[in-house]
Structures are given as structure tokens and as C-alpha cells.
């Protein structure tokens, strides 16, 4: 991609202030506040119905919030209609104009703003080049593949040089292999342009792969906001722990020094804020060994082992913990060994 790298804008940001959205009796968003620094790749992650798309549409101006404000670079966008906001959207269905060619689709926003003809031409050429669409410039959308259509939708939004680019599940219509490729391209594009991208997705792998920061949403609220590793390594709630990747949740009681799980005492790195609650550990952080570990060791039996090629997965008893380890040596059902739950891998959840 031949795109001049822009210095990332800093400081100023998009600010979502206490946004509430109600559809009749249903509360889609129950008071969401967010700060997105300029130049970040920010992801709204959550299952369907969590309000992530509604929030994106409110930023775009396609939905009017019941309460709250959307402020971009100090300017209140809330009263502005969609066509007067300096943001552009890549729609889930791409929403390309079927009667316009790729070139005309890309020029649409520029022509709406009555831009000088030469400038329109220059920017369209730039957009075609940026997303490698030169060969398809004169085609109509129905003559393109899904991946090409997605690139047209991206180019059509980016040539307007928006201050924020909104992406509404742009990869959901692509097959898994292409999706992985496009994720890398999207990330690279965002870094070259230094633009603020806000991505909506329900795919946690996608969120981890592309984002600077992730906002995990649940039922109209923000569950946790942080960098991908923060959200993955230090989930604050059961919901966060289970939505991002797999997690072993261990219920138990607080002890003066550590934690009492159903299968024994465990040492913790921090004191839980509750008397009874959960700690979590990722399956790949559980260590297996033949000798007894110094701390947090459990004598376990392999209940079931599944070979997955790149790794193997096993369920241990009696503690009911799931492990993910290197595929060799292969574990056998019934095999007895030691499992270690390292102190730094045990995360104390808020509840």
C-alpha cells in the first residue's frame, strides 16, 4: 500500500458522555461514557443485542440518543444530522449504491460536498490505489466479490478524510481466511493513516487482533475497557473472563491468607474484595508436571484429553479444570499428575 504516513493526532478525542438510548420500553444503552483518544483503533465488543451497533449509529448520527452527548474534538455533534458530521461509516452490508460503478461509489461523498472536479478525481484515484481497486473502477457492485465490495466500502468512506471512521461488523460477511487477512490490512491502514477507527464486532479474536483498546459491552453497559492484554489477562468480571477466550472459574471463600476452593487452599497475589466469590485462570496458564510444585499444586487425574494439532486440551478431575498445553507429550485419559495454578495467573474477579 502506497499511503503517506501521517503523524498520529494526539490529545483531542471523541467523547461519549452518558449516552442513553431507549426504544419504547427497551433500554438499548443505559448511560454509556467513553473517551477515545485520536488515532486509536477502538473496538466495541459484545454479543448481539448488547447495544454496540446502537452506540456506533449514535456516533454516526443515524440514531438520536435519548439522553447524553457525543463530542468530537470539543465540538458537540449531538444536534448535527448524519450528513453534517465529519465521520464516515463502513456498513455491515457495505450499502454500496448498486447503480453506480466503483469509481462513482467512491466519489459519492466528495460530490455530495460539491468538491472541485479535479480534487474529486485525485482523491478517487488515491482511494482506488490505497485499496488496490484500480482494476475494478468501472465495475458495478454486483460484479465484485465480497472482499472487493468491502474494500470499495472502505475506500468510499476513507476518501472523505473523516476524523473518525466507524466500522459496523465489516468482516462478518467474509470467510474465515479472508477475514484474518483483512484484519491485518485494516490494522496497517489505520496505523498509516493515523485515524481514529471505531470497530463494532462480536468476534473476540478480531477485537484482540486489531485493537488498541477494547470496550466490552453487555446489555447496554460497558463491562470493561482496556487494552487487549488488560482485558484478557485481568478480566474484572465473570462475564469478561468468559466472553474473551476460555476461563476456568473457581468459586470459593476468602481466607486470611489466600482462598479456599472446593478442592483445597490456593495462594493469591491479591486480597479479594469479597468474602465469597470467584477467581479465574486461563486454561493455557495452568502448568502440568510430574513433580509436586512448590505452591498451589493439585494432584489431578486427566478425565478427557483432546488433541487439536497446535495444542491439546484436557479436562482434569476432581477439581474440574480445563487445561491447554503443548501437544507433546500426549496426555492420556486416566493419567495422574500434578497441576499448578501459578499465583500470577489467578485473577480475582470483582464478584
Amino acid at each position: 500500500m502506497t499511503v503517506a504516513t501521517r503523524p498520529p493526532a494526539t490529545g483531542e478525542s471523541l467523547s461519549i458522555q452518558n449516552v442513553v438510548k431507549k426504544f419504547g420500553d427497551f433500554t438499548a444503552l443505559g448511560g454509556v461514557s467513553l473517551e477515545v483518544p485520536a488515532g486509536q483503533f477502538f473496538t466495541l465488543l459484545g454479543p448481539s443485542g448488547c447495544g454496540k451497533t446502537t452506540l456506533l449509529r449514535i456516533i454516526a448520527g443515524l440514531e438520536v440518543p435519548t439522553e447524553g452527548r457525543v463530542v468530537l474534538m470539543g465540538q458537540d455533534l449531538t444536534p448535527l444530522p448524519a450528513n453534517r458530521r465529519p465521520v464516515n461509516t463502513v456498513f455491515q452490508s457495505y450499502a454500496l449504491f448498486p447503480h453506480l460503478t466503483v469509481r462513482e461509489n467512491i466519489a459519492f461523498g466528495l460530490k455530495s460536498r460539491r468538491m472541485d472536479r479535479l480534487e474529486v478525481e485525485r482523491r478517487v484515484r488515491y482511494g482506488l490505489e490505497m485499496l488496490q481497486l484500480e482494476r475494478f473502477a468501472e465495475r458495478l457492485p454486483h460484479q465484485l466479490s465480497g472482499g472487493q465490495r468491502q474494500r470499495v466500502a472502505l475506500a468510499r468512506a476513507l476518501v472523505n478524510e473523516p476524523q473518525v471512521l466507524l466500522l459496523d461488523e465489516p468482516m462478518s460477511a467474509l470467510d474465515a481466511k479472508l477475514r484474518a487477512e483483512v484484519q491485518v490490512q485494516l490494522r496497517r491502514l489505520q496505523q498509516q493513516l493515523g485515524l481514529t477507527f471505531i470497530l463494532v464486532t462480536h468476534d473476540q479474536d478480531e477485537a484482540m487482533a486489531v485493537s488498541d483498546r477494547i470496550a466490552l459491552m453487555r446489555m447496554g453497559h460497558l463491562e470493561q475497557v482496556g487494552t487487549p492484554d488488560e482485558v484478557y489477562e485481568r478480566p474484572r468480571t465473570r462475564y469478561a473472563a468468559e466472553f474473551l477466550g476460555a476461563a476456568n472459574l473457581i468459586q470459593g471463600k476468602r481466607l486470611p491468607m489466600g482462598f479456599e476452593a472446593p478442592f483445597g487452599k490456593l495462594a493469591l497475589g491479591q486480597t479479594p474484595p469479597w468474602d465469597e466469590g470467584y477467581v479465574a485462570i486461563r486454561p493455557e496458564r495452568v502448568r502440568l508436571s510430574e513433580v509436586e510444585p512448590r505452591q498451589n499444586g493439585l494432584r489431578v487425574r486427566v478425565r478427557e484429553a483432546v488433541y487439536r494439532g497446535a495444542y491439546q486440551e484436557a479436562w482434569l478431575e476432581p477439581c474440574d479444570i480445563r487445561v491447554r498445553t503443548a501437544p507433546h507429550p500426549t496426555l492420556q485419559a486416566g493419567q495422574e499428575l500434578w497441576a499448578e495454578l501459578p499465583v500470577d495467573a489467578l485473577v480475582v474477579l470483582d464478584e
Binding site: F91, S112, N160
Partner: protein
């Protein structure tokens, strides 16, 4: 893949190895009723009409089979008293009335189709029924109803008289206005129904995309909404324009003797004047004009790649 490859590819039809081409050939028998219908009611009468248009009228209104181009000369305005623009005027007026009727129907149908499509599903079909119900009433009866509604004693005429638009004690019919009112009300359902089916299936994400890309209301309509309604609009235009070109009941009952359309001219030849050959020639003239009109529309439609 070219169509003949597709037609000759191997397929299995209920356990029998065959090709689509063979299957279609076998199904040809089912075409027979339609073929007889088209032959008996379209091709043969059509050719008779062509033959008839080159014949002459006998003294007592019978058809005399002498080949002549006299009927076409008359169609172009050459009569016993030299050239007069009357027939050409009637043809052009019919074209104009059909065009204006179609145009006004479209302008009225758009808001109506959007209104109906925006109703909740339960009441939507009720509104649609209200548009369609008048169309279940016989056209002649509806036209007579307009005669009454536009009569001197009715509120519409009274209002026009009070505003000084109309002489006292005169009605709104017979007049060109009455013809337009009759035509538009008769054809409106034919535009609303296909347009509604297009509007109902509208992809609103395109409307959102247009707004997102800075388009004004007008630009959003013409780039995101209008192209999507073209299939319905085309059906509506064809269903309105063609019958409007040949309409004779409405101009006959609402237009009076001075506002003849080509439909009335044809009707007169076959009834009052008993000049079937000339009637046939006018009919063919009407047909040619309609086809030209549609060809122009199709050509313009192709530019936007929708027809």
C-alpha cells in the same frame, strides 16, 4: 457460461439422465393453450387489422377489399377538403394527455406509496385496499359519478364559481380538466400498487449510506431511493401510459365533443361512421406511437442500467 452449454449440460431428472434442452422440448405440449390463445386472439386479429387498414369503405359502410393507402393519407390529415391538422392534433393530444396523466399519477403515487409502506403491518393492507377498492367499481359507473360530482350544483363547481374561476351556473364538466381528473383517478392504483411493492422492499441501508456520505435530502432521494423504486415505477408507467393512450370512455363522458382523443376517434370509426378500414389505420397509428413511446422510455432506462 453461454446459454446453450447450460441447456445441454447433463442432469438427472427423476433417475433419468437427460439435458435441460430435452426436458424443455418435452414440456412444449404445455405451451399449446397459450400458443392457440396468442395465435387466435393476437396474431390473426392483428394481421387482419393490418389488412383492413389498406382496404376501403363501401357506400353503406361495408368493407371493400381494394388496396389503397387512402386511410393512411387521412391519418396524416389529407381529406377531401385538403390538408387539415385535426387528426394529427388528436394524436398529439392523446400523447400529451397520456403523458400528463402518467406524470401526475407518479407524483401523487410516491407520497402515497411511502405513506402506506410506513404504516404498521396490520393497517398497511387496509390502506392499500382503500386505494384499490375504487378500481373494483366499473369504470363507466365511476366516470358517471365524476359527471355528477363535477356538475354545476355540486360543491366543487360552486367553489370554482365563488372564486370566479367558472361562470355562474356552469359545471366543471365537460372540460379537459374533467378528463384529467377522470384519467388520474382511474390510473392512480396502477402506479401505487407496483410502486408500493418496490418501496416496501427498499434497502434503507443505502439511504443511511447516502446521509453518512454528506448527501442532502434531494441527493439522498435521487441517488438512494429513486433508483430502487425504478422497477415498480416502470411497471406503473407501462400499466398507465398504454391504456391511457387508447382510453375512450373517460374523454367521451367527461371531455365533451370538442376534446376528442384517439380512442374516441377509433370508436367513432367502428360505430357511428362505420368506417372500419380507417378505424384500423388509426388503431395501428396508435399502436406505433405507443411502441415508440415505450422504446424511448426503455432506451432512457438503459442509461441507468435498470430496465
Amino acid at each position: 457460461m453461454p446459454w446453450w452449454c447450460w441447456m445441454n449440460r447433463r442432469i438427472v431428472w427423476f433417475g433419468e439422465l437427460t439435458t435441460p434442452a430435452q426436458l424443455y422440448r418435452r414440456g412444449l405440449w404445455f405451451l399449446l393453450p397459450a400458443a392457440i390463445w396468442i395465435l387466435g386472439l393476437l396474431v390473426i386479429p392483428g394481421l387482419s387489422l393490418v389488412a383492413l387498414s389498406f382496404a376501403e369503405r363501401g357506400q353503406y359502410g361495408e368493407v371493400v377489399w381494394n388496396f389503397s393507402l387512402e386511410n393512411y393519407r387521412r391519418l396524416l390529415g389529407y381529406g377531401i377538403f385538403g390538408w387539415s391538422p385535426d387528426t394529427i392534433l388528436i394524436l398529439l393530444r392523446s400523447l400529451w394527455v397520456a403523458f400528463v396523466t402518467t406524470l401526475i399519477c407518479i407524483v401523487l403515487a410516491y407520497p402515497l406509496a411511502f405513506f402506506i409502506a410506513s404504516r404498521p403491518p396490520r393497517t398497511r393492507y387496509l390502506w392499500l385496499a382503500l386505494v384499490i377498492i375504487p378500481f373494483w367499481t366499473n369504470l363507466v359507473i365511476r366516470t358517471y359519478a365524476w359527471q355528477m360530482l363535477l356538475a354545476p350544483d355540486f360543491p366543487f363547481a360552486k367553489l370554482a364559481q365563488a372564486l370566479g374561476l367558472l361562470a355562474p351556473d356552469s359545471g366543471l364538466y365537460p372540460s379537459p380538466l374533467a378528463v384529467y381528473i377522470g384519467m388520474i383517478t382511474a390510473f392512480l392504483p396502477f402506479v401505487v400498487m407496483p410502486l408500493f411493492s418496490s418501496v416496501e422492499r427498499l434497502d434503507w441501508s443505502l439511504v443511511e449510506a447516502a446521509q453518512d456520505l454528506y448527501a442532502s435530502r434531494i441527493r439522498t432521494f435521487f441517488q438512494a431511493i429513486w433508483p430502487q423504486t425504478l422497477p415498480g415505477l416502470t411497471v406503473g408507467i407501462i400499466l398507465t401510459f398504454i391504456p391511457a393512450m387508447g382510453m375512450f370512455v373517460i374523454p367521451d363522458l367527461l371531455g365533451g365533443a370538442k376534446y376528442l382523443l384517439v380512442g374516441n376517434l377509433i370508436q367513432q370509426q367502428f360505430y357511428a361512421s362505420r368506417d372500419w378500414p380507417y378505424g384500423a389505420a388509426v388503431s395501428l397509428g396508435l399502436m406505433v406511437m405507443t411502441l415508440i413511446g415505450l422504446a424511448i422510455y426503455r432506451r432512457r432506462g438503459k442509461d441507468v442500467d435498470l430496465v
